[in-house]
């Protein structure tokens, strides 16, 4: 490959030259790197490839999905892997009071001090903080709406100093919401 078609990137401290039209994950595969851990769909859907990266002209570290971030000259990054964020075990069919159960399952949720770091961390542009407060106030319809595009990458949980687990709060809220409704059959789109 011609030199001008390549860029230099730094992965976990080591420099590689890779093709310039690649993503961080594409570049890794191109270097011969192999893993079953930090990649899955390669299409921005599964959230396995959470990454920390720094651009050459910036002084702060950004977060994103490695399979979706374009490479550029001087970018430096590492992969996060699975962030420790255990999921509580519950049986939906035995939950009578979903609002109380939320606090039993996620006691840390009231500790949110509205720093907003989770919002900055989310690669899917989700207002995670607002979503958490909607959950606290029992507005599960809004929680469901906020987290529609959550890929469960865990970057929000990693950012949170109060130890919140927004991924699992979102999954729980979405599931109890649907359970609360009677199953309905489909309808035709109203004509006109």
């Amino acid at each position: 490959m011609a030199f001008q078609d390549q860029v230099s990137i730094q992965f976990m401290g080591k420099t590689y030259r890779v093709s310039k039209d690649s993503t961080l994950m594409g570049a890794l595969l191109e270097t011969g790197w192999e893993s079953a851990r930090e990649l899955g769909c390669l299409g921005g859907c599964c959230g396995t490839c959470a990454a920390l990266y720094r651009l050459p002209d910036e002084t702060h570290v950004r977060t994103g999905l490695a399979c979706r971030i374009p490479v550029r000259e001087g970018i430096s990054f590492s992969l996060v892997g699975c962030y420790p964020c255990p999921e509580p075990v519950y049986d939906l069919t035995t939950i009578d009071d979903p609002k109380q159960a939320l606090f039993d399952l996620f006691p840390e949720i009231t500790g949110c001090h509205k720093c907003g770091l989770c919002v900055t961390a989310c690669p899917q542009d989700i207002d995670v903080m607002r979503g958490m407060w909607c959950a606290v106030f029992g507005d599960y319809v809004s929680v469901a709406d906020h987290f529609k595009h959550c890929v469960q990458c865990g970057l929000c949980a990693r950012a949170c100093r109060a130890g919140l687990r927004p991924i699992w709060v979102a999954a729980y809220a979405r599931r109890v919401l649907e359970r609360g409704q009677e199953p309905l059959v489909g309808g035709q789109e109203p004509s006109g």
Partner: protein, 551 residues
């Protein structure tokens, strides 16, 4: 990284024809569909499946003589990764009623049903639980739930889509179970799109005569997978082994399926699992990159289940036809191969050539649409070239805003919107560039209505199986397939495990005799399978690789 000037100037042609096209669409007029004879012509001349030189005949196994894509044929005739004289089968690591291999949608649905039926369940999966094609499905899931619909129409559509080659009993099971399957998902907490009064929103997909595509925005598969995975984690009876793919099936002294040999990818240990029933749900083959096409599939879609089952003597069907999705992204280069869901066309977006003109009815069946796009870019010479040297056609997404109102693209196609916005392209204002991409394994292992195969105790469900969709699958029938047949296989496996006695002697003799067949056929190129992970290292790196661990 928005469109470069040369592409921007071509977009003007699209914008020029747009007002008239929108007008016509509003009047309910569309580009004329091809006649059956024209369809056949386009398919034989342009569809990749019809290229004879891209296939070869199998020389061994139960499909000996069948012509399959070369990449797949090579893998089906590969050698075992195990040293058959070294593996110790007398030391059993896990004993279970039901072993499920592959935890995508089909495998997880099977696990939930099997555990509900009282079986002990072990699931072995190659990557993280749910890192699968299921999580990538965007457009939706079919099911005749609307007043104007019935399983009967659904049946006819599915058969028509498959050019009437589908197995009728499997299609009957698929369409009859469909409404119940949708309800099952709903009860587990899947949030389908609904009207404010609570009725389901249903839409058309390619080849449907009634609106029956249910969706969750454009993340239908992700939503289903999130919920199924969540439920599975909450069931203590399911034991999940992640990063632990299967390498071979095990049979027993009665010739029944009795477990599998697994590989712990992190420690490189082999595990022997003894089971009363085994379900294969390893998904598809996109990462074989048939004929060098880019693909939409996840990293682990490497046909492993086909390889293992073929060695055990299971017959396959329809593997000569692979589904190319007509609309894979080709720009920006970082998005190449990514799926642009059929929903975009379902919402009214036209496909246009370099001059901004329509050249096909947007909802032709996938194989026909793919062939037409390839024709437009080759014979007709009306493709649009990208800076990286790809060629494709426009998909006019901004039309959707004009037809359904401002904000529709962001609402209905949020995930896609984000994927392009990252590269400075706003798909509600600018069209996308697309070309066919390798998408789905139409065929697979021959199964019966409960997923049973010709080997007692071995079942299969999902993309690894074949017959449900015949030669060509319609959008939304595959998510349905994995739920319907995943559940059926789970129940059947649990029932089988209750009846069948525990296996005694585990054996790999079927692999030995397959190896003998390979030798007799003169195949000794040293290629091993299943593939497990695709190898994207460039040639110069591969050539210099050595195994790190010397015993």
């Amino acid at each position: 990284m928005s469109y470069p000037p040369e592409l921007k100037s071509l977009i003007r042609f699209v914008e020029k024809t747009r007002p008239q096209r929108v007008e016509r669409a509003r009047r309910g007029e569309s580009y004329p569909a091809l006649t059956l004879a024209e369809r056949q012509d386009r398919l034989t001349r342009f569809h990749p499946d019809y290229r004879a030189e891209a296939k070869r005949a199998l020389s061994v196994g139960s499909n000996k003589g069948d012509r399959l894509p070369i990449e797949l044929a090579d893998l089906l005739e590969s050698h075992s990764r195990l040293d058959l004289d070294e593996v110790r089968l007398d030391r059993v690591d896990v004993d279970t009623d039901v072993l499920i291999i592959g935890a995508g949608g089909a495998g997880t649905a099977a696990a939930l049903e099997a555990v509900q039926a009282g079986a002990s369940v072990t699931v072995a999966t190659k990557l993280r639980h749910g890192d699968a094609n299921t999580v990538m499905a965007e457009g939706g899931i079919q099911g005749a739930t609307a007043e104007a619909d019935s399983p009967c129409y659904h049946y006819i559509d599915a058969m028509g889509g498959g050019h009437f080659s589908n197995a009728p009993d499997l299609v009957e099971a698929l369409v009859k179970d469909a409404p119940v399957a949708i309800e099952w998902l709903e009860r587990l907490g899947v949030l389908f799109d609904k009207y404010p009064d609570g009725r389901m929103k249903v839409r058309h997909g390619g080849g449907t005569s009634r609106k029956r595509l249910h969706s969750c925005g454009d993340m239908t598969g992700a939503e289903i997978m999130r919920v199924l995975r969540d439920e599975a984690r909450n069931r203590p009876g399911i034991r999940m082994l992640e990063f632990t793919p299967a390498l071979e099936l095990l049979l027993d002294e009665r010739g029944q399926c009795a477990g599998a040999v697994l590989l712990n990818l992190e420690t490189r240990e082999l595990y022997i699992v003894r089971a009363k029933a085994v379900i294969l749900s390893t998904g598809g083959l996109g990462r074989l990159h048939i004929q060098g096409f880019p693909c939409t599939n996840h990293y682990g879609a490497t046909a492993d289940g086909l390889v293992m089952a073929y060695r055990a003597g299971i017959k396959t069907c329809f593997l000569d036809s692979t589904q190319f999705h007509p609309t894979g992204a080709i720009y920006p280069e970082q998005n190449a191969g990514l799926l642009i869901t059929e929903k975009v066309r379902g919402l009214g977006a036209h496909l246009l050539n370099r001059s901004g003109e329509e050249f096909l009815f947007a909802l032709e069946p996938r194989d026909v649409a793919s062939a037409c796009i390839i024709r437009e870019c080759s014979e007709q010479g009306l493709g649009v070239a990208t800076p990286a040297g790809r060629s494709g056609v426009w998909l006019d997404s901004p039309m959707i805003e004009l037809l359904h109102g401002e904000g529709t693209v962001r609402r209905e196609l949020g995930a896609k919107y984000l994927q392009f916005q990252r590269f400075g392209i706003d798909i509600s204002r600018e069209p996308m560039l697309v070309y066919p991409t390798l998408h789905y394994q139409n065929g697979g292992l021959v199964i019966g209505v409960n997923g049973e195969t010709s080997i007692p105790g071995l079942l299969a469900a999902g993309e690894v199986s074949g017959g449900v969709h015949g030669k060509n699958r319609l959008m939304g029938n595959s998510l349905l397939d994995i739920v319907v047949f995943g559940r059926r296989a789970g129940l059947a496996a649990a029932a089988y495990a209750r009846e069948a006695g525990a296996p005694k002697a585990l054996s790999l003799d079927h692999v030995r005799s397959f190896e003998r067949e390979l030798t007799e056929a003169g195949i000794s190129d040293g290629k091993v399978g299943p593939m497990l992970l695709p190898n994207y290292a460039p040639e110069h790196i591969r050539a210099r690789r050595v195994a790190m661990h010397v015993p």
